[in-house]
Amino acid sequence: MKRIIYLLFAVALFSCNSPLDKSIFEPLSVEDKSKLIDSNHEYGKIICRCEMVTLAEIKDAIHRPVGATTIDGVKRRTRAGAGRCQGGFCSPKVLEILAKELHKDPREIAKFDQQAILLVGFDKESL
């Protein structure tokens, strides 16, 4: 039993060191960044400029098992929104990506809990 656990652990460790696919973009060398973008152009679109988080990483964070469904969910998996501007710049973009990938209306997208909605309606709706 212990052996199986060690084996699984080793497999997990080694898959963490697997190469560029599903990498974290920011710390890579210039050459590796370049290779990654060539392999998946969505690594060439930066969504969170403070932490240099790419569209590919955010989409992966949403579609992976136990993926993100909220703004904070994306933040905790990718660091998008955790940098110096604290999501001031990227939260509209992350919201749009969540809505598109989850086939939801932007007004349904929440910060962390389904009641923590960001957008309350359209412009002029209350007039």
């Binding site: 930066i46 604290q86 962390f112 412009d123």
Partner: protein, 419 residues
């Protein structure tokens, strides 16, 4: 590696004006790198008017002002690369950028102009107690949702900070159907333009609570209200003055910070008073060939000043490439007595135009005071100002001939005097 004489980082009003300045100075080998899918920068979401009075003698909205410059860029066929994010600048002026289609691109520049603009100070930097509910937005983010995406971020709003963005958003939110309950300002004066107090608050009877701040945010999933309190001279909340204000949204307009991560990374010396690069009269930073202009250099109030400053940076980048920029710092400009900072920080008599605009901000509100300029010990300017406030950038003009007449001049001091 692509060779480009001039690489401009940022296609907002500063970048656009810098490109035109460089072009009109005789160098057409320019590229503007812009991370968004359109040029114009923050002007695209500034749908209100008040832009261009100095530049075009007309009052334009942000997008209209931007359109004038974008049209000129197109007419001059100046190269731009959109959705292109610069991730690095090296000391030898290699600019690395990424783009979805082009991948990672590197430009070997002869001169780089930094025009990245600024970002907003977030809630975390204010340490306001409370949970982390939704409904807290920086004013600029709210502006993006309302003006670009078409969504309302809230129904019942309190705004912290009476700088221009906060005031403008008070009006925007009201006109789109929200109830803006008050604007709260920690200082005893507003940081925004007086015309915005009239048009954005007075017109809608939105109260401005000076010398107050938000001491707690209520609500665990969505904001339910805020506690505000009066502050003392040291800007600390006074016990017993707390009031509760029900709201579902808190907008923060609490300061703009020049976006200098790339600048810091390459080693450009930053002025702690402006959070922007230290520059000479030519707007050259401490690294040869790297220039800066616009909000990345110091946060401006008027886009017209951004444009004229950036145009000059473009012109000087060309001068630098042509070997005509004298790199010695000759004369120090000191900010003293009530002047918080000056831009530029130094002058070289051989480089200056006939008139040099030295821009500064006062560190406090002064009424019926004098702006004085000393050339070493000699007072050369002494102008009375009815009011000086940190929220409004001021200018003094230095004449080239004064410098020529004083070849041994060491220091120019700008200060505020009572008489």
């Amino acid at each position: 590696m692509i060779n480009k004489d001039i690489v401009i980082i940022g296609g907002g009003p500063a970048g656009l004006a810098a490109a035109i300045g460089a072009y009109e100075a005789g160098n057409k080998d320019i590229i503007i790198l812009e991370r968004d899918n359109l040029l114009g920068g923050i002007l695209n979401q500034c749908i209100h008017n008040g832009f261009g009075l100095h530049t075009f003698k007309e009052e334009l909205t942000g997008p209209e002002y931007s359109e004038r410059y974008v049209r000129k860029i197109k007419d001059l066929k100046i190269e731009t690369s959109l959705e292109t994010m610069v991730i690095d600048i090296s000391k030898d002026l290699v600019v690395s950028a990424i783009n979805e289609d082009k991948g990672l691109i590197q430009y070997q520049a002869k001169a780089v102009i930094l025009t990245m603009g600024c970002r907003e100070r977030p809630r975390g930097a204010l340490s306001i107690p409370g949970y982390r509910p939704s409904g807290i937005f920086s004013a600029g983010t709210a502006q993006r949702f309302v003006n670009i995406e078409g969504y309302m971020p809230g129904k019942s709003v309190v705004i912290l900070g009476s700088g221009d963005i906060g005031l403008i958003m008070a009006r925007r939110m009201t006109l789109e159907g929200a109830n803006v309950k008050m604007v709260v300002e920690i200082m005893p004066y507003s940081g925004g333009l007086k015309r915005n107090i009239v048009q954005c608050l007075d017109d809608f009877s939105i109260p401005l609570k000076l010398s107050h701040t938000v001491t707690k945010i209520h609500g665990s999933t969505r904001v339910t209200g805020v506690t505000i309190a009066k502050v003392d001279d040291l800007r600390n909340p006074i016990n017993g003055t707390e009031e509760y204000g029900e709201c579902d949204t808190l907008l923060l307009s609490v300061g703009l910070i020049p976006e200098n991560e790339l600048s810091r990374k390459v080693g450009v010396i930053i002025n702690p008073k402006t959070q922007g690069p230290v520059v000479s009269e030519s707007l050259e930073t401490s690294i040869k060939g790297i220039f800066a202009a616009g909000n990345v250099l110091h946060v401006h109030d008027l886009v017209d000043h951004v444009s004229s400053e950036a145009y000059l940076a473009g012109k000087n980048a060309v001068k630098y490439i042509n070997g005509l920029l004298d790199e010695i710092k000759m004369i120090d400009i000191q900010a003293s007595d009530g002047v918080r900072y000056t831009v530029p920080s130094s002058l070289n008599t051989n480089n200056v135009e006939d008139l040099t605009q030295v821009r500064f901000r006062s560190s406090d509100v002064y009424k019926d005071a004098y702006v004085s300029v000393y050339l070493d010990e000699e007072r050369i300017l002494h102008s009375k100002k009815r009011i000086l406030t940190p929220g409004e950038m001021e200018t003094v003009t230095i004449l080239k001939k004064w410098l020529i007449e004083r070849p041994n001049l060491k220091t120019i001091t700008v200060k505020i005097e009572k008489e």
